[in-house]
Amino acid sequence: MGKGVAITGMGIISSIGNTVEENFQSLRQKTPGISKIEGISTIHKDHIKVGEIKISNENLSDLLNLPSSNNYSRTALLAEVAAKEALKNAGITNVNSYKTGLISATSVGGMDLTEKFFYSQFEEEENRKYIESHSAGDSSTKIANSLGITGFVSTISTACSSAANSIMLGARMIKAGKLDRVIVGGADCLSKFTINGFKTLMILSETNCKPFDANRTGLNLGEAAAFLVLESDACVKADNKNVLGYVSGYANANDAFHQTASSVDGEGATLAMKKALKVAGLSSVDIDYINAHGTATENNDASESAAIRRVFGDHLPKVSSTKAYTGHTLAAAAAIEAVYSILALQNNLIFPNLNFETPIKETNIIPETDLLQKDLQHVLSNSFGFGGNCSTLIFSKE
């Protein structure tokens, strides 16, 4: 169905690094970013481990040269750090030299502020500036204003698949000629809201998560932001841009099974992977590496494994989940893993699935546990969320 959409820049901040380069080094050196939580006071602190970025909001604000009176949520701070790196990486100095849009994704938005000032906003006027920071759209608006984007700006929230849908929408808008250039990605910070939410669902691991392991113990939550710059072929040609890779396939399907659980046979995931292959004009044997959703919950890894078997049969590409490095960064996860997929393509490297020991008997998917050098042409990345939202992206070298 035609060529993919060019990726010309990327930016990321996660618990394994504040830049693309730092993330790459941590991935190579098998250095995870999972720790005890420090930034949020929670009664669960001794019973969970998280992918926390050890930089305070104050320091992030300084990094962005924001006035101390700013009302940025942590989500917005992380988002702006990553979006700025992406723009710089793409060599864009005048954002309005082409028709440029921004599509972000978040699940918690400014929840960190709302929970912090839940009652004090009523009593103390100085805390009321955070009221407008709650909505999901707020962080996107802030980044757009900071970068000078006045045109198309939007935000997506489909739980843990959100950023995949923002990358997908951006690619489709470029293909449809609605935008020349678009910054796409997502951001989520840690919050008491999500920690307690996942805790009540009993899917938080007390220890380091073990994606695809038969004895997996649940997920580690994480916080992160990542953005890609996508550009039309005309922009790439006119500015002689360096292309990092292409978004060649994308799809979104719904499991229509349960509000929070994935179906046993991975129906939604199967549909998403098959449709993404079709959009990319590829067959399953063309995929060299799957960067799996692999959250390390009992349900996800079983369902995703079943879906991978349904799509790939016995011709399994290399598989790994990088969640054991970063934790599950919810709405940002697909953007984080898009950056990792592109790094994989650029360097012909497959990043290890940390902490894996024992295969799941039913599907027997054995992920890569060491850094592996391999010629890569096409990488498939999965992201699934509550509400049955299943999204697949395919990234290609050419």
């Binding site: 489909t158 809201f193 307690n196 509000q259 509400g387």
Partner: protein
């Protein structure tokens, strides 16, 4: 660009609006500063055992989508696209309040499970058994318009029927917060009509409107969706020029527009975005508004689109929404303009089918 036909519509709101055939004739202007929805007959659309479990937003969305699908005679859409600025607000508030009041103890997962922004779209899919494309846009006042834009691209990619809509519910805690910063009108009961109130803030309300778009025109077609454009930021003096560009991109000029549907919400600080247009570019065009009936919510502009659809189909402009004296002849081209607090501007172009 192809043709996209609006073959089914629905409106759940603070008015008795669930019967499309009645249109706006029985609507009553809202007079309080926070107005909840008029509950439709949930039993007609949702199993009694489910009604209790579903949040207001989910119920509104499920009913609204059912009405629109029935009207368009579509059983299974090829995409479900939902706009919801604040998502499932009540369950979010409930879970958060429990965390804080109970210091993270004694929590149950139900409210958390239903709190995600995409719950409505997910529940519609679950109810229909629809495994197709499903996405939720959550960008404040353009959540619904992004959904429309996505729907239009779906047709270019070969789909035939797309369910697209908006839903937002009132959250009592959030409303209280927004009262603190003057986003909600201070007077509990309006002394004057909305546009004469000359006070800050808007009437807060809730609702859900859904539309079934098809690549083929059906008998009950309301209108065609021709184009959508979104701006994150516009200065007041840029709006007229951007509207002209939008029309020009569609080979139209302002004289081709029979009716303009404006998102005036009675906020003295921001209605000038509309009045500037009304007094200049739109001076000779039939002007209508609707937020005296719908109130304000992030996806209230979907109520505006529902209004536009009904007046195109009936070829009549009801007096209770008209802003000026200019009579429209036959209603062929209708343009909608909306913004909220000076941000998130959108133009939508509809044409008779």
């Amino acid at each position: 660009m192809g043709n996209y036909y609006i073959n089914g519509i629905s409106c759940i709101s603070a008015q008795e609006s669930s019967d499309n055939e009645l249109g706006l004739q029985n609507f009553v202007a809202l007079t309080e500063n926070v107005v909840p929805l008029q509950k439709p007959d949930y039993k007609k659309y949702i199993k009694p055992t489910m009604i209790r479990r579903m949040s207001v937003g989910v119920k509104m969305g499920v009913v609204a989508s059912s009405i629109a699908l029935q009207e368009a005679n579509v059983e299974m859409p090829e995409a479900i696209i939902t706009g919801s600025g604040m998502g499932c607000l009540r369950d979010s508030e409930k879970f958060l309040k429990n965390i804080i009041d109970n210091e993270e103890q004694f929590l149950t997962p139900t409210a958390f499970i239903q709190s995600t922004h995409n719950t409505v779209g997910a529940q519609i899919a679950l109810g229909l058994g629809c495994k197709a494309y499903n996405v939720t846009y959550v960008h404040d006042a353009t959540s619904f318009e992004t959904s429309l834009l996505d729907a239009m691209m779906m047709f270019e990619e070969g789909e035939q029927n797309v369910l697209v809509g908006g839903v937002d519910e009132i959250g009592p805690y959030t409303t209280d917060l927004h009262k603190l910063v003057g986003h909600v009108k201070e007077e509990e009961t309006l002394k004057n009509s909305l546009l004469k109130s000359k006070t800050k803030g808007a009437i807060y309300s809730e609702g859900s409107q859904f539309f079934v778009l098809g690549d083929k025109k059906k008998d009950n077609c309301y209108a065609q969706l021709k184009d959508v454009v979104i701006y994150n930021k516009l200065e007041q003096n840029e709006v007229a020029q951007k509207l002209e560009v939008f029309l020009k991109d569609n080979n139209l000029t302002i004289s081709d527009i029979d009716v303009v549907v404006l998102g005036l919400n009675g906020d003295v600080d921001y209605d000038s975005y509309y009045t500037t247009l009304q007094n200049t570019l739109l001076a000779n065009t039939t002007q209508v508004y609707y937020k005296h009936f719908s109130g304000e919510y992030n996806t209230a502009s979907a109520f505006g689109m529902w209004t536009a659809c009904t007046l195109i189909k009936s070829q009549k402009v009801p007096k209770n929404i008209q802003l000026n004296e200019i009579e429209s002849g036959s209603i062929k081209n209708v343009v909608l303009y909306n913004q909220y607090r000076g941000e998130n501007h959108s133009f939508v172009l509809l044409k008779s089918c």
